[in-house]
């Protein structure tokens, strides 16, 4: 009995130790790629791109996608790395580059790039220099850049005989005029304001935060000594807060409880006059069903014209045993014709717009937005914490719980605590 038990235990251990694992099978290398699910629509286009060209060119390399929800992507990537089971190919949201690099998740690509055919000059310089490059090394290849615009309900504007707004003040003017009780029952049915997704902590930096940028506000920046300091307490930020506080008057009273999906549905149904429209919304079925009901315009600027960019990158896992194969994927993707067919948003290189599907006239507007796109803040590791701080103070200010001054001073103070801790590591 004891002998049988021992043999059984030995067999179990042998199966676990030697039976698991993937990687190489009959000369075909399988790369594990962590990404978003297919129903996100966004990054699965990359997998289609691989089907349309990469596998033909490299039949001995296969890519196996491991999909995780957006909210869990960074957590899953980091914990897999800590547990020694890191991925070969990693989908990197641009704010996470600094965090991943400092945590040792990503492999530097400089030596690979130096010996390859990739022409880094083809990439949009702003994305590569600010995001892909971190602390003097290159870590990612950008492949899907995001840009934003302002979607306006055509019928609402036409019925009121209003022109589309061209400044932040004009946005408030039209918001006021378009907020109304349509059926006379004393209840507002139509909201002229720009909907705010309170649940999304990035909103006051990326989405509605475009108008923070437009007003000249910025969360933090480097001083002359290369140290990071909070710069949020500025006239531009003050203007932005007062503007967004006024905008709240033209939105539902329970806006704080609305989710992003509720907002999309409500805009599609014609409840909101304005909507923060990103290029990824081109894949949103509810909006595409009603695409003839809204127009897209440049974000009305004030001090500064532009749209907030960002986007997705691919990185090489530092734990990967197949780095050469991973590099082949990144190299293939960096060719303009391949990037065009694999990018789910906008390819971060002008040359790619000469290839399908971007060489049709349909993408001219987004190319223009892409050219104007800029990152709202540097993607340093404490970025999430600083955005969280800003989000809390901004929400309290626009809900009337604190004054604008208290908001700016409080946010600046708390952000500086976080940034000073980070500066010690530089």
């Amino acid at each position: 009995m004891k002998k049988a038990m021992l043999i059984f235990v030995f067999l179990v251990v042998a199966v676990v130790v030697f039976g698991g694992g993937q990687g190489e099978d009959d000369g075909v290398v399988t790369l594990k790629y962590i990404t978003l699910p297919n129903d996100a629509g966004e990054n699965w286009k990359l997998m289609e791109g691989f089907e349309q060209g990469f596998y033909e060119e490299y039949p001995n390399i296969k890519i196996e996608a491991v999909a995780v929800p957006f909210a869990d992507l960074e957590q899953k990537t980091m914990t897999a790395h800590i547990g020694g089971a890191g991925y070969d190919l990693i989908l990197v949201n641009h704010p996470a580059v600094g965090i991943y690099v400092d945590a040792g998740v990503l492999e530097p690509l400089d030596s690979y790039a130096a010996n390859s055919t990739i022409d880094m000059d083809l990439f949009n310089e702003s994305v590569v220099s600010v995001v892909s490059n971190y602390k003097g090394n290159m870590y990612t290849i950008p492949f899907a850049e995001g840009a934003r615009s302002l979607a306006l309900n055509k019928a609402m504007f036409q019925e009121e005989g209003l022109d589309y707004p061209e400044t932040m003040d004009e946005m408030l003017t039209v918001a006021k005029q378009l907020t109304k009780d349509l059926d006379g029952d004393g209840v507002i049915d139509q909201y002229g304001g720009l909907a705010i997704d309170f649940a999304n902590m990035y909103y006051p930096v990326y989405e509605i935060g475009q108008w923070l940028m437009a007003a000249g506000g910025k969360l933090y920046d480097q001083d002359e000594n290369g140290k990071w300091v909070a710069t949020i307490n500025s006239d531009g930020s003050r203007k932005f807060i007062e503007w967004s506080k006024e905008m709240m008057n033209y939105l539902p009273k329970d806006m704080p409880s609305w989710t992003g999906q509720m907002i999309i549905s409500a805009f599609a149904e014609g409840k909101f006059a304005m909507f923060d429209y990103g290029v990824w919304h081109e894949n949103e079925p509810r909006l595409q069903e009603v695409s003839n009901t809204f127009d897209l315009i440049d974000n009305p600027p004030d001090v500064q014209e532009g749209t907030v960019g960002g986007g997705w990158h691919l990185g090489m896992g530092a734990d990967s045993e197949y780095k050469d194969e991973v590099w082949k994927v990144l190299e293939w993707l960096s060719r303009p014709e391949n990037m065009a067919k694999s990018s789910s948003m906008l390819p971060p290189m002008a040359e790619a717009f000469n290839y399908p599907p971007f060489n049709s006239g349909e993408w001219d507007f987004w190319k223009q937005q892409n050219d104007l796109a800029a990152l709202p803040v540097a993607t340093i590791p404490p970025m999430n914490e600083c955005i969280d701080i800003w989000n809390k103070y901004w929400q309290k200010a626009i809900l009337g719980q604190i004054s604008v001054t208290e908001c700016l001073e409080g946010a600046e103070k708390d952000m500086n605590v976080v940034l000073q801790e980070y500066n010690k590591t530089l």
């Binding site: 400092d102 309170f198 539902p252 329970d254 409880s257 914490e385 969280d388 809390k392 929400q395 309290k396």
Partner: protein, 301 residues
Amino acid sequence: MRKKTLKSCDKIDYLYLLPAVAVIIIMLLYPLLANLKYSFIKYHLTDPSRAFVGFDNYINALGNPEFYTTLGRTMVWTISVVIFTAIFGVITALLMNRKGLSSKLIKAFILIPWILPELVSGYTWKWMLSSTYGIINHGLSALGIIPVDFSWFTDPALALTVAIFVNIWRGVPFVTIMIYAKLKVIPAASIEAATVDGADHYQIFFHITLPFISAQILNCAMLVFVWTFNAFGIIYSLTGGGPAGQTETISYLVQKTAFRYFKFSDAATFSMLMFTILAIVVMLMNLASTFVKSKGDFDEN
């Protein structure tokens, strides 16, 4: 010969306990000790040093105003849920113990809130309370009880109250079942004797029933306290910690610190402080339960 056989049996018995012990060590003891270790080092994923920092993490946590604000909010959340879950649990159990239609209805539906996953409950209530899409808001505004565009989630105190209500709704079934089981074993002779002596329903409840079930109530309260103090899913799904982070509880703070800021040592420190608070509370409640049991006049047997 017989003695040797008995000893062999004992050894085999211990062998059968090994899987359970392994689970306890892997799932409970190891994480606890690892957490304790992380609370004494600097373990930020973006800083590979992992240097030993002594009690610095605890000093920073206890010197952080946000910790006290969040802890205070967590205690309000927890104590409110415990008190009202106990009250409504007892009332529901008493109703369930009576003969009649109410008892049958309660028995049919009581477990539904308990078996629904936490996140499902949170998201469902969030939608029901939406001013634009919510059936509850629609009904209440049709009755003129609230305005049409009334928001449950804009005011932080009201948002927390809603979260407390939803968690009470989820917790009442457990307390009900536990109290109901205890009610079924109340000595019938005691109640009959009291009735014969002229005691009314209130006197029977306060002098016989309540003392009999009080230890059970305390035990349930202790469990509900622990579960509520640690609860994350309801807050995450219902309010997202908002508005402006004003419904965040300690467990939400831990999750955010660990998986949004990747500051594992800070999160571990908050966790150890949570563990300490819970240990003290559980110990006090155990003492209270022992005291109540020792004062009890009833013997189930």
